[in-house]
């Protein structure tokens, strides 16, 4: 079976190599977690997959199709959605309008606004944000912004959802709420790739973990085993898996 997403031998350097000969396969309906210390190259890897950065070497394939040279908007229309670590809200627009952008311009058949409205409403409902639909996005608190990132990405009807530290900065109760939302998204058939420092949140959702350090893969496999492996314990010195 062709993997849904394939990263083949990808390099990226900003003076120093940030992602080094990285290869990765994600099958349909997988939920992959990516962990690693700060500066390990996790966000850079995600930016390379989403098309916000271009690879120095190697290739990225979606359903066997090489998308290495395509733009981020093209990849979104191809079914690859992401949330950003630092949310990128359209502050002057309402929450509903923010999500509508994803619904109108996202993957699948092009939609007019009337067709896209129910899609946006459904995404708002799934992200628990419908009550705030007419709020100006710039007025949202952090949890609201994170939820809006999720709702906007969902509205694009993705095959793969890339989450970049979406639980970071939230309170414990908010993290648990978000975990339930993401679980439900996974259960609805969306493939998930999730970078997260909050390991217990990750463990509640993913069925595989890849650990990175200095741009390379140091372990990959069953979440509990990866987190318990000596390599990961070493780079995560002091952090204990739950």
């Amino acid at each position: 079976m062709t993997p849904l997403l394939e990263v083949v031998n990808v390099d990226k350097s900003f003076g120093v190599k940030v992602v080094d000969a990285m290869s990765l396969q994600v099958n349909e309906r997988d939920a992959l977690g990516i962990v690693g210390p700060n500066g390990a190259g996790k966000t850079t890897l995600l930016n390379l997959i989403a098309g916000d950065l271009s690879c120095d070497r190697g290739s990225i394939l979606i359903e066997g199709e090489d998308i290495t040279r395509t733009s981020s908007d093209w990849r979104c229309r191809r079914g690859l959605a992401r949330t950003a670590q630092i949310p990128r809200p359209f502050e002057g627009m309402t929450v509903f309008e923010n999500v509508l952008v994803g619904a109108v311009f996202g993957a699948g058949v092009p939609m007019n606004e009337a067709q896209a409205t129910p899609v946006a409403v459904e995404a708002l409902e799934r992200a628990n944000l419908l009550a705030a639909a007419n709020t100006r996005a710039g007025a949202l608190p952090l949890l609201g912004r994170k939820r809006m990132e999720l709702a906007r990405a969902l509205a694009t009807r993705p095959k793969i959802l890339l989450l970049d530290e979406i639980a970071g900065g939230l309170t414990e109760a908010e993290v648990l709420e978000l975990v339930e939302t993401i679980k439900a998204i996974g259960a609805s058939g969306v493939t998930i790739v999730w970078i997260e420092h909050i390991v217990h949140a990750l463990l509640a959702v993913v069925d595989r973990i890849m650990a990175m350090s200095f741009g390379t893969k140091i372990a990959e496999g069953d979440p509990a085993e990866v987190m318990a492996s000596p390599e990961v314990q070493e780079v995560y010195l002091g952090v204990e898996p739950e």
């Binding site: 916000d52 981020s72 992401r82 002057g92 509903f96 409205t117 409403v121 419908l130 009550a131």
Partner: protein, 352 residues
């Protein structure tokens, strides 16, 4: 999900729209009671400046394309009308439409060059390209070179002076009202959704599937088309021209930028306010065009520092008026209270 719907208008905006409809009707009927043209003729310049200001506002205020080269499309419009009507004998009013089409077609290679540049470089780039067009007009014998060129009676289609004045006035009114309508309709469409998202966060917009270049290109071509037709109407109003005035950066871009900045860039109402202020200054300094530029330039510079959202922005601080609503409001079960009206704001940073 079908119980959710989107609304945009409220009582205020319906009142605003009705006001503009009445104003437009009065202006459209003007030729029938202003028989000697003493009101109409000076109004033409106000109206074509509104058309130019709205088109620049669409580019700079909504698409982040700060063009200092609008005079190229005015000049292209002027010389297209001259060529078709004067040299080929095409009906002058049909040639106005052709002027827009020629400007739109020529805007594509210009975009291929200028869209490689960002921010201030884009602004300078459009200016330089406009200069190239001016030099082409100046050097080409076919277009008349450095000579003054005049629309003759014959090329004006043999219409009487009175008919010509009325048609020119109505064309200018149509261009001004049409330019305003285009900005409102663009903003309310899918394209407007894309433009507003790009303006707030271009990377975020791309990440949601918005093709930034395509959205900007569509706006660029629309603006070139309308500015080109406006150039043709400017020549109908004042049938003598030469390359220096047809491609004047001062008249067709700088003054237009002043008007838009004074009124308020990034709002649909701003350029209307700006052009009214321009009218007042013009009445005040009837015979001193240079002083007009200087005074409007000084006001615009002061506004840019003290009130970057223009007069409209100042008014909005006091009253939340929104004449042309573009914001969508979701209505349906589970949806919270509506947000207060707040027309699209000007970004706090200069558009990139």
């Amino acid at each position: 999900m079908s119980e959710h719907r989107v609304t945009r208008s409220d009582r205020q905006s319906r009142f605003g729209l009705a006001t503009f409809a009445v104003l437009l009707a009065v202006l459209a009927l003007l030729p029938w009671w202003d028989s000697d043209g003493s009101l109409r003729v000076p109004l033409v310049a106000i109206l074509y400046y509104l058309a130019l200001a709205q088109m620049w506002n669409l580019l700079a205020g909504f698409a982040g394309l700060v063009s200092i080269g609008q005079q190229m499309f005015v000049g292209i419009g002027v010389y297209t009308l001259l060529s078709f009507a004067e040299d080929f004998g095409v009906d002058p009013y049909l040639s106005v439409l052709l002027a827009g089409l020629v400007a739109a077609v020529l805007s594509l290679p210009v975009a291929a060059l200028a869209f490689r540049l960002r921010g201030g470089y884009f602004a300078i780039g459009t200016w330089v390209i406009a200069e190239v067009f001016r030099l082409i007009a100046l050097e080409s014998g076919f277009l008349g070179g450095a000579n003054v060129r005049t629309m003759t009676r014959a090329s004006l289609g043999g219409y009487s002076v009175d008919t010509r004045n009325t048609v020119t006035y109505l064309l200018a009114l149509g261009l001004a009202a049409g330019a305003t309508a285009i900005v409102v309709l663009v903003l309310r469409s899918r394209l407007g959704l894309a433009l507003r998202s790009i303006r707030d966060n271009a990377e975020g917009a791309r990440g949601l599937g918005v093709s930034v270049t395509r959205a900007k290109l569509v706006v660029w071509v629309i603006s070139a088309f309308w500015t080109g037709m406006t150039g043709a109407v400017i020549l109908l109003h004042n049938p003598s021209t030469r390359a220096e005035s047809a491609f004047s950066v001062l008249r067709w871009t700088a003054l237009v930028v002043f008007i838009a900045i004074i009124g308020g860039v990034g709002s649909t109402t701003g350029p209307i306010i700006g052009v009214v202020i321009y009218w007042c200054v013009r009445e005040f300094l009837e015979d001193a065009e240079e002083w007009r530029f200087i005074i409007l330039g000084l006001i615009a510079a002061a506004m840019a520092v003290a009130a970057p959202r223009g007069v409209y922005g100042l008014l909005q601080k006091r009253w939340t008026v929104q004449f042309f609503p573009v914001r969508r409001r979701l209505v349906g079960p589970g949806v919270g209270a509506p947000a207060p009206p707040d027309e699209i704001r000007t970004p706090s940073q200069p558009p990139k």
